[in-house]
Subunit: 102 residues, 2 copies
């Protein structure tokens, strides 16, 4: 993934409730669904004590469309009801980036 | 942590080389050191296949100061030499945020 700045990042941080309760399957499904959305640029995810998922988007319109996607709305509802004890969403403009590869 | 937007996030994503080689101790030390820097607002971190560390800062000046901190510079050098096979740094303006707590 090598988009040119500026583009957008959505930082989703969360803590899980106990037990899977269908979470892993949903997470995989949402990741695949996001990849097919207009303006999707990439997604990175890791979970230890806290879960961090960062998705990358072309612009705010792409983020707004993905937020309102029917299947994603259902996952958001289930997330609040079952899967997360806490989450936070940050919508960010990526202004600058650099990388290193060995 | 409840800073008001806008503020800045630095998204540091990385993949590790094999073996610890002093990495865990350095990571803990850098986290503690960052917490004492001017303009530091918070830090969140998780690693599975990929590592994601997001640090939050008041402004670009705070990020520039932290990047140039002597001990942090040494850790960056060792990171390139020993600990990381790949990393990417994104400097982002947090424009909007919302959260949920059960």
């Amino acid at each position: 993934m090598q988009p040119q700045t500026p583009y957008y990042a959505v930082i989703f941080t969360s803590t899980r409730t106990d037990g899977d309760k269908g979470y892993a399957a949903m997470a995989k499904e949402m990741e695949q669904l996001a990849q097919g959305q207009p303006g999707f640029l990439g997604l990175e995810s890791a979970r230890e004590e806290i879960g961090i998922t960062v998705s990358y988007w072309k612009d705010l319109q792409a983020i707004a469309q993905w937020k309102k996607h029917t299947d994603h709305l259902m996952a958001q509802k289930k997330g609040i009801a079952n899967w997360y004890s806490w989450y936070k969403v940050r919508v960010c403009l990526v202004e600058r980036e650099y990388d290193f590869t060995k």
